[in-house]
Symmetry: C2
Subunit: 467 residues, 2 copies
C-alpha cells in the first residue's frame, strides 16, 4: 500500500553525505545562525512521502522524519490543500491573540479538529506552540490545582501575604513545589521543562534549575518476554523509589511527568503494570499524572496515544502533545486543572491557528486512511525482520525493543554515530538517541515496500562495519 | 495616507459589545477550551487594515491590534501574497527541524530577511516561537556565557562533578545564577521568564520561581520635561539599587533584562540616561544586558527598535523580539553568546519557517513604505491631540506619556475597565495595562485620518463617563 503520490522507487545518493552544497550553505549560514548542528540542507519542494531530497541531489528514505515530527509524508497532498485554504491564509496574515479574540473558525477547529483525537476521558484542550511549552503549561496547571486543593473549597481567597510574596518570587505566594520526573527523561528545554529533563549534560550544563526530584526509570532487559520476573522486580523497585520521594521530598510534589517510552533518553520501555502503579501512586497522594506524549502521540506506537497500551483504570490527568501533531498543547479533564480565575493560564498567541489547521489535516489523513492500524501492522513486520537480522549481526543489534509498539522500534549498537553516517551514505536517514541507540521514527505512511529497503541498507552497512 | 485597501470610513456597531453571536460562541467554546478571556469573536476574513470585524456585524477601529502584535493591518495584501507563495506552502506542510535539516531557503530567509532589521551591532540571530521562549533562550545564552567566562579561556572542560551534578539539578553543574529584572516588568510566562516577570499576582500566584532579584524601575513624573530634576534623582536611585543587588545577591547575577518601555506593567518610561547607566553597570560587572523588545520592537516607538532612542555607546548584548515580528527570537553579536559546544542551545523546531516568511513580508512592508518614520510622525500628532484633550478631561487623562515615542502612547484613567467597555461600544478596540492605564497600540499603518475617529471616540466616552 503506497500513500505518497510520487515517491522514487528507492533512495539514491550522488555524493558523500553531507555533500558539497550542504557544506557550502552550512558555512554561509553559520555566519549569522549557529549551523554547527546542520546535517543536511534539504530541498523540501523535491521531497515526497517517505523520501527527503537534499541540495546535492541525494534522495534519502527518511526514517527519522524531522526528529519524529513528520506524520504523513513530505508534500502530502491533503496538507497542501489545507495550506492553500482561505482559512489558512487568514490564520497566517491575521494572527489572532486567541485567548481574547479568537476567529470565527476557532471553535470548529478545536471541536471538529483536535478534540476528535483527545485521549479517552479528556474533555478539554489548551493550545501551545512546542512540546516544551505544553509541558510547562501542564506543570503550571498542576501547581495551581495543587494549591487550590490546599486552600480548600471554601477559601479561594488570596491573602495579602500571598499576593506580596508572589511578586517577590517567595513563598507562600510562589511556593516551593516540585514535579517528579525520571532519570533519562526528556521533557523540553525551557527553564522549567529542562528541570524535569534528565537526558544529557549537554542539555543541562550551566543552566539553573528547580530543585525537583528524579526517580529511576525501569532499566528493563530485552526481549521483555524472556525476563519477566527480573523486569517486574525492577519496576517494583522504581515504584518504591517514586513513593519514597513523594513522601520525603523537601517540598510537596504536585505532579509526576512521564513519557510512555523514554525517547531522547534511549527508547526505554516499561510495562503497562508500571504505569498503572504510577497512576495509583499519584491518585493516592492526590497529585497529577502528566503523560508526555510529545514523541509517542499521534499513532507512532500503533495506538493513537502511547498510553492506550496501558489500559489505565482512569484517564491520565494531563496528556501533552506536539511533534507529529504539528502543533502543541495539552488535553485534560479534571475541572480543577482549569484555574479558578481567568488569565492565570494565558499568553498573547495561545498557540497558532495556522498550525492547528495543519494538525486537522493530519488527523483527517490518519483517521481516513487508518494509519494507526497500518502502523501497528507494519511495525510488527518490521520488528520481526529486525529480530531476524539481529541473529545475523548479534554484536551490532543489541536489545532490540518496541515489539507491539508500532514502528517505535530501537536497538543499541556499539557505534551509533558511525552507523548513522554510513546509513546516510547508503541513502537512509536514521536517528539516534540515548548513549548509543538507533531509534526508528518512520512516518505513519511508512509501508511494507519500504521495509526491505531499510533492512537491505542496515545489512549492507553492518557488513561494512563488521570488517 | 491610507495603506489598507478597503477600510470602512469609520467604525460601526450594530449590537452592544460583546454581541449575542460572540456570547453564544464563547459559551460553546468554553466547554472544550477556557473561553473566560474571550472578548470578541472575530471574522478576520472581513477585517481590513486598521478595522476588526466581529461575528455580530460590528466593525472596530483597532488600536490594540491583538495585544500589540498586528504590524501592517488585517488582510494586508503583501502578507496574503507571502501566505500563498510556494515557499510558504512547503514550510507549512514540510515543517523542518531547522537545527538539523534546514531548507534550501533558510539562509536567504535569515540573511535577506530578519537580518536586514538586526539592531545595529548585532550580527547573529536565534529563532524561536514566542517572546517568552525568546527571553528564556536569551537567559540560557547568558548563563552559559557567564560560566564559560568563569572557567576561563584555557579550561572549557566539564568535570565529572559538573557532569553528574547537572543531571541532579545541583551545583556546580546546574549552578545558582540569577537574572535581574525590574518591578512591574513583563517578560513572559514560562517558568523561567515568569521568574523575571513582576507584573501582576494573577500571572505568578502558586507558580514556583527562581530566587531572582528585582530592582525598582523608575517611577517618573509626567510630563517628563516638567520634572527633570526629580526624575533624574529617581533614576539615579534605581541604578544604585541595581548596583547594590549586583554586588550583594546571594548568587551571581548573569544578566539584566529590561523593556525599553514597561508595557504590560503600565507603560512606564525611563530616560536614555537611565539605560546608558544600566548598560554601564552590566559592563562593569561583566554580565549581559538583555533588551526585551517583544512589544517595543518593529517600529511602534517611532524607531525600528525601542532601544535606538537611547544612543547607547555599544549595542545591547541580546535583543529579543516577537509580537509585531510575527515570529520570535533574539539577536546578538558577542561570540561568547554562541555556546562553546553544539546542541547546547537547540530544540526540535527552532522556530517556524512559515512565521519567518510572514515576518519577511512585514519587514518588506515596513521598509518599503517607511512605516517607522510614518509612525513617528503620526505619533507626534496623536500625542499633541491627546494632550489637548487632557486639558478638557484632566480627571480622566492622567500622566499622558509616550511623547516622541511614536504611537506608543498611554495615560492613566480612574476606571480603565469601564472606559474600555464604552470605547468598544463606540466601535473602538483599546487595550489596558498596569493598574488602570490605557495603552494605545495601533498598527504601523495607523494614519492621520484615524486620529479624529479615535479622539472623537474618547471625547464622547469621556463625556458619558463624566456624567
Amino acid at each position: 500500500m503506497t500513500f505518497a503520490l510520487s515517491e522514487p522507487p528507492a533512495p539514491s545518493t550522488l555524493t558523500a553525505v553531507p555533500g558539497p552544497s550542504t557544506n557550502a550553505t552550512k558555512r554561509e549560514l553559520d555566519v549569522i545562525f549557529d549551523a554547527r548542528t546542520t546535517q543536511i540542507v534539504v530541498d523540501y519542494e523535491k521531497s515526497y512521502g517517505n523520501y527527503l531530497s537534499d541540495v546535492d541531489g541525494n534522495c534519502f528514505l527518511d526514517v527519522y522524519a524531522q526528529i519524529a515530527s513528520i506524520p504523513v509524508g513530505y508534500n502530502n497532498p491533503a496538507l497542501i490543500q489545507a495550506a492553500q485554504s482561505r482559512e489558512m491564509i487568514s490564520a497566517l496574515v491575521n494572527r489572532p491573540a486567541i485567548g481574547n479574540f479568537p476567529s470565527q473558525h476557532w471553535l470548529k477547529l478545536l471541536r471538529e479538529g483536535l478534540m476528535r483525537v483527545a485521549p479517552r476521558g479528556c474533555t478539554q484542550v489548551f493550545t501551545a506552540q512546542s512540546g516544551s511549552e505544553a509541558n510547562e503549561l501542564a506543570f503550571k496547571a498542576a501547581f495551581m490545582a495543587y494549591q487550590r486543593k490546599q486552600r480548600g473549597p471554601d477559601n479561594q481567597h488570596w491573602s495579602t501575604r500571598e499576593l506580596e510574596s508572589a511578586m517577590k518570587n517567595q513563598a507562600p505566594g510562589s511556593p516551593d513545589l516540585a514535579i517528579l520526573s525520571f532519570k533519562d527523561s526528556f521533557h523540553g528545554r525551557g527553564l522549567g521543562s529542562l528541570s524535569a529533563t534528565r537526558s544529557k549534560p549537554v542539555h543541562k550544563m550551566d543552566i539553573p534549575s528547580f530543585k525537583w526530584p528524579q526517580a529511576t526509570f525501569p532499566r528493563l532487559k530485552y526481549p521483555l518476554e524472556e525476563h519477566e520476573d527480573d523486569n517486574r522486580a525492577e519496576e517494583r523497585r522504581c515504584l518504591q523509589e517514586v513513593e519514597h520521594i513523594l513522601a520525603s521530598w523537601y517540598c510537596p510534589v504536585a505532579g509526576v511527568i512521564v513519557e510512555p517510552i523514554q525517547s531522547e533518553g534511549g527508547d526505554n520501555h516499561a510495562s503497562p503494570g508500571f504505569f498503572q502503579g504510577l497512576q495509583a501512586l499519584t491518585k493516592k497522594h492526590g497529585i497529577y499524572l502528566i503523560v508526555d506524549e510529545v514523541q509517542t502521540g499521534f499513532g507512532a506506537t500503533g495506538r493513537f496515544w502511547g498510553h492506550e497500551h496501558w489500559e489505565l483504570p482512569a484517564a491520565p490527568d494531563i496528556v501533552t502533545f506536539s511533534k507529529k501533531a504539528q502543533t502543541a498543547g495539552y488535553f485534560f479533564s479534571d475541572a480543577m486543572l482549569r484555574p479558578d480565575k481567568a488569565y492565570r493560564q494565558f499568553n498573547t498567541w495561545m498557540g497558532d491557528a495556522a498550525r492547528v489547521i495543519i494538525s486537522n489535516a493530519v488527523i483527517d489523513e490518519i483517521l481516513s486512511k487508518n494509519l494507526v492500524e497500518h502502523t501497528a501492522r507494519i511495525g510488527d513486520i518490521l520488528y520481526e525482520r529486525l529480530a531476524a537480522l539481529s541473529t545475523k549481526f548479534p554484536q551490532l543489534i543489541l536489545n532490540l525493543r518496541g515489539k507491539g509498539r508500532g514502528t517505535y522500534i530501537a536497538f543499541d549498537t556499539p557505534d551509533a554515530s558511525s552507523l548513522l553516517k554510513e546509513m546516510r551514505n547508503a541513502g537512509i536517514n536514521v536517528g539516534s538517541c540515548g548513549v548509543s541507540t538507533i531509534r526508528l521514527r518512520p512516518m505513519l505512511i511508512f509501508g511494507e515496500e519500504h521495509i526491505p529497503l531499510l533492512l537491505d541498507g542496515f545489512e549492507k552497512v553492518f557488513a561494512k562495519l563488521e570488517k
